[in-house]
Symmetry: D2
Subunit: 120 residues, 4 copies
Amino acid sequence: MPIDSLETLRDRLRIFADERDWNKFHTPKNLSMALIAEAAELIEHFQWVEGDSSHLLEDTTRLAVEQELADILIYLVQISDKLGIDLLQAAEAKIEINAKKYPADKVRGSSKKYTEYEND
Amino acid sequence: MPIDSLETLRDRLRIFADERDWNKFHTPKNLSMALIAEAAELIEHFQWVEGDSSHLLEDTTRLAVEQELADILIYLVQISDKLGIDLLQAAEAKIEINAKKYPADKVRGSSKKYTEYEND
Amino acid sequence: MPIDSLETLRDRLRIFADERDWNKFHTPKNLSMALIAEAAELIEHFQWVEGDSSHLLEDTTRLAVEQELADILIYLVQISDKLGIDLLQAAEAKIEINAKKYPADKVRGSSKKYTEYEND
Amino acid sequence: MPIDSLETLRDRLRIFADERDWNKFHTPKNLSMALIAEAAELIEHFQWVEGDSSHLLEDTTRLAVEQELADILIYLVQISDKLGIDLLQAAEAKIEINAKKYPADKVRGSSKKYTEYEND
């Protein structure tokens, strides 16, 4: 079964945890800790580089970054599964909220407005 | 255009950032900071509750958690887009690595082994 | 010069960075990323254990935890130094704010109130 | 009792938690989650600004940053107290390790070496 959607990824992860009897460890609390640990591993790759060059990654770093992103997605899907949350629906709803909060004609091109609007 | 896949989510986010001229802020470095900030907002909902009851959320908390998960996915998709990384492929590759690293028959049902194996 | 106070720690860290010509990397932005990466390394030691037993550490874990705590303090002192902030004064001021926000006779012994009060 | 050292801060925090009967929530696991949540609040102040200007804070931001730094120190001292770890001793030991790991004459002035050496 190839992983070609969030649903197939969710299903594969269910099997993976079942086979290892890991569901007892996979409380939302623990999974949220695991997720942030991966987010921090991601950040480590960028912490001493300039923002402007942070998309230029050497091959080994690129592979590592790819794995951190994968880990974050894996934990994100597992938390959502435990809580019965549909990630794409949640993202769509959030984008609609953001669209009202940051109207394009008001925030366009201003870092100051961006900062003010974003930081809450 | 309904958001029914990671690709349509990515496309919607591209439009959203373009309309606001926000790409200049969206370096992988900055996006990784934004992602971890959302991961921390997620963790705040779970930090004082017992793991066993961390899937039981009151309605307002549940909605908030749903929005944090959405935010994490949004930043995750944006970083991947900037770096040209396919998230589902990356997840599939990572699961294969994990399957070799944690063979089901070896790690099954042992928190000790789980801990040892997981923490690296 | 033994490190017996936050000031002597700050001074030692200044010398350390100067000798290596690292101040150019030590913007508050970068240091805050480094700090959270260490906070995540700390969290990894606790993510799969029960809260009640999270103070019981094996010797090797204990040493690792000690080093993560040291790293967090180091980055905390460096950020404060760059911003000219007195950490102990800041902590004292924050405790006074908290004392008003969570009056002992109101929040005493209630996890519910604790949660409500704390999460903002 | 003025807070003029990490010890007096620790003692004040003990009293604060005792008066509120909060020790039952203060497992190292929970405190490490609280700490990273504060570290993320810190990072939010820096996520959309350039590193070079991240030390220039407006007054309201400066006060907020000061409070996040205070919160991080508070949780750091509480975790150390629960685990019986002396923070300054731990920092001194860590600096000695770092001094051997990053010899000044080898890493001086090179961001590449810095990155390589630091990221582990």
